[in-house]
Structure formats: C-alpha cells, structure tokens
Amino acid sequence: MKLAAYPAFTATAFQSRLAYRNQVWSGVFGELVFMFARIAIWTSVFSTVASDSVDGVTLPQMITYALLAGPVLYWDYSRLLRDVGTAVKSGDIAVYLLKPLLYPAYMLASHTGNFLFDLLTVTVPVAIIIGFTVGLVPPASLFHGLAFLAFWALSFGMLFLLTTILGLAAFWLMTADSLDWFFNSIMILFAGGIVPLWFFPDWLATIAGNLPFAWVSYYPAAIYIGQLDPSQALTAFIIGIVWFAVLLAVLLWLWAKARHRLIVQGG
C-alpha cells in the first residue's frame, strides 16, 4: 500500500471518535481530577520545605512538569493495546493480513488519529483550565522549547513502539488483558510521569534514566522546565534515537515472527 494512503486511517480514526461525545467531557473531567490530585500533592509537600525550590525546581515548574509528563505525553496507550488484543482474540487480525498494508503502520496511522483527537478535545482544554486557574510556566528557553517539541515526537514514537511490541505478545498469550496492567506498572515508576527521576534514590534514578520508558515522560518534561542543559539534552536525544531504532527493529522482527505464529481459534 502506498504511504499516502495511511493518513486516511488517521482521519477515519479521528472522525470516528467524534461519535462519542460523552467520552470527551468525562475524559476532560478525569484528566482534571488527575491533575488537581497531583497539584494538591505537590503543593502539600512543597509547603513542608523552607525554600522556594526543591532540587532546583519550583512549585509552578513542578505543576507544569506534572501536566506535561501526565496528560500531554502519556497518551491513552490502552486503546492501542486493546485493539491489538481484540484483533488477535477475535480473529480479525486475519482480515488485516489479507489487506495490502503493514499492520503496525496501520496501527500507527490509526492511533495518531486517536492521539490528535484526545490532544485537541481533552489535553488542550485541561491545559488551558490549569493554566488559568493554577498557572503554568513557559519553556526554560527557546532552545528548551524547541528541544521539547523534538522530544515530544520521540516520546510519541517510543510509547507507540513499546505498546505495540507488548500488544504483539497477544499472538503467543492469546490475551492482552493483563498486559495493560503489567505495562502500566512499569510506566508508573520508570517513565517518571508520577514522580520525576530527580526525586528517586541515585541508584534507581540511574537505572530508570537509561531505560527507554524515561523518554516517554521524564526527558521531554524535564527538558521543557530546564532541568537538562543543552549538551545533556543532546546526549539524551541521541540515546533516545538509539533506543527508538532498537525498539523499531524489535517490533519488525516480532511482527515477522507473529504473522507466522498466528492461530485463529476454531479455524
């Protein structure tokens, strides 16, 4: 299939979400509650220290970090995992194999549409509400702002690859139900979405900082608020690209294996 055809899947996924308007306002509510819980926690713990900043980070920066590392960067990967799991469980995956398309590329196009929908209808309104009610800080500098955009793209790709690799495990396990929970348990701790790595003990921060999960939330958000200087940001970006290439190779290898492993129940 020609590359130009894939954006059609993105547009279709976006349009199909328009049919579920209740999910939009309940999604906004869910993310707002999530954010206000984080804001309350950080406000409470920052009030226990004498100085304005902790480890060089002020409360407004911490709130901005929480918004970026949570709703902005950590998009709803469960939908992708569920789609792959359902396709394998129901046997619909066989239909995709008959079509002249690369299934992982189709999933990428489709979930880019879902991501854009959530970004425009949920994340941006939540960011605006938080910005007006609590306040958000701008990027630490122009460099940090531009670097954040590059890291954001890398973050999206990284979370997509990690989720799809995990989803393909359904070809062997015949279920993806538990994988969501397992993946969530890893991401909660190692992506830095809840607690930034600079609050980790040194040994744990070193481990987490070198695993690919940190490129999903921690590095992009930390760069935005200026926790990494330009040389550190560049090094982190290069390592992130290497992880991206490794994960992409793993995905393509796994997909080649999975196609030949496919068993459709009853067939």
């Binding site: 509650v33 015949m174 929970w181 809840i194």
Partner: protein
C-alpha cells in the same frame, strides 16, 4: 421465588468455573494488578521518602490509608463493578429483559452471577500492606477498636458497591451510563490521599455529594486519632453510618430505575 441459599452459591460456582477455564489468564491478571498497584504505591512512597510527610501523614499512616482504600474498593467492587459496567450493554442488547423475568431478585442475580474473583491480587496486596502498616502506626488495639475498624471496612465497601449499583442502574433509564464510572474513578483517585491536602470546596464535595472520603480517609483518620476536617468528633460515627446510608439511597435509586426501565427502544 427461588431459594437464595441454593441459588447464590450455584451462580457463584458457575461463574468461578467459567473463569478458571483459563487459569493462566486468571493468574496473570492477579499478578499484573498486584504489580500495577504496587508500583503506584512505590511511587507515592518515593515522594514520602523525599519530603517526609504528605498533609501531616507519614509513610506508615499513608500505607494504612492506601491499603484500606484498596481493600474496601476490592471488596465492594467484586460485588458490583464489572457486573454493573455491563448493565449498559445488557440494556442496549435487550438481555436485561431476560434477567428481569427470572424468578430471583434482579440485583441478586446480576451481582452473584458475576462475582468477580479477579480482585484477588488487590486483596493480597492490600492485606499485606495493611498488616505491615498496622504494626508501624501508633494505635492501641482493643477488641472494641478492632471491631470498629472492621465496621469501617464494611461500611466503606458498602459505599463502593452502592455507588457502582447506582451508576449501573442509571443505564436502565439513560441507556448509557459507563462514562459516569470515569467520574467515580476520578474521586476514587482523590480518595486515597489525606483529604486535608485538597481545597475546602473539594473536601466538602467528598464528604457530601461524592462521599468517597468515607471510603478510606475518614475511617483511617478516625482510627489514627487524626483530626478530620468538618466532621471533627463525628468522624467515627459518620464513617460507620455512611455505608448504610449510601446503600439505602442506592436501593431507592435502583428500584426507581427498575420501575422506569423501558429498554433501549424507549
């Protein structure tokens, strides 16, 4: 009317057998949920390790709060969540009509034909963390305080089951109600932290219209002898009575929704 002491064990037995048909998936589910909650609690403990306390609560007290929250939730949700989340589908597909004509209470059938044993991972983690935290907090245990603690737990589980029932029942009238679970889980998320860290309007909301503060914070604060905003000395009595009160409201709502059920077609 069928004899409940025969029918309920039969319904539960049938459902458990259907789940144990896939033992690998079942155990994997328990382990994965255990890992996810364990990971979240580790993240919270990292904040406490760095800052010392959260709203005046130190780690063993927070651990008791988290474990109480998880145990109350899993006990209440095993009787309600998955069962009532499927209510929307039952209404839409018309299968609710078949349940309504069964010679057994509709609520009893819905709850016990889907009694969720998938919460075993939650319960094991909650009991383990609670066991550890109870040895660390400064509480003098007597038979009376032990019974009171169990009463708090039952009351908190009743709040969960009653709220889930109300959301599910709403589907009988609105057809769609699953988006309300997202709102429930929003307050559920807030309920696992000390209430005093939130702004006053949110504290009032969580003690009145969205009473999930009674799911963990109020009973645990009463156990630890910590001051409870707005309730003061009434915290213990309120923690005990909130569950039965929400249950009575849920019963009235359930009956009203059943009376006004017209199917998805109107």
């Amino acid at each position: 009317m069928a004899r409940l002491h025969v029918v309920i064990p039969a319904l539960v037995h049938t459902f458990i057998r259907s789940k144990t048909e896939y033992p690998g998936a079942m155990v994997l589910g328990w382990l994965s949920q255990f890992a996810a909650y364990g990971s979240m609690y580790t993240a919270i403990s990292l904040i406490l390790a760095r800052f010392g306390s959260l709203g005046g609560w130190v780690w063993p007290e927070i651990a008791l709060l988290l474990s109480f929250h998880l145990l109350a939730y899993s006990l209440g949700a095993s009787l309600s969540f998955v069962q009532f989340r499927e209510m929307e589908e039952k209404v839409r597909m018309g299968t609710m009509d078949a349940i309504l004509v069964k010679p057994i209470s509709t609520w009893t059938y819905v709850v016990f034909s889907g009694l969720n044993i998938g919460y075993a991972g939650h319960i094991v983690l909650a009991l383990g963390l609670m066991g550890w935290s109870l040895t660390q907090v400064d509480v003098t245990w007597t038979i009376q305080s032990g019974l009171l603690f169990l009463g708090y737990l039952v009351s908190a589980a009743m709040i969960v089951a009653a709220t889930m029932t109300m959301i599910g029942a709403t589907a009988l009238v609105w057809v769609k109600s699953n988006h309300l679970y997202q709102i429930f889980f929003g307050f559920w998320e807030l309920a696992r932290y000390p209430l005093n860290i939130f702004p006053l309007p949110l504290q009032i909301l969580m003690l009145t219209f969205a009473p999930l503060a009674f799911m963990a914070y109020v009973p645990v604060a009463a156990t630890l002898g910590k001051p409870v905003p707005l309730l003061g000395d009434w915290a213990s009595a309120a923690a005990l009575l909130s569950g039965p009160l929400v249950t009575l409201i849920a019963m009235a709502h359930w009956r009203w929704c059943l009376r006004n059920y017209q199917g998805a077609g109107g």
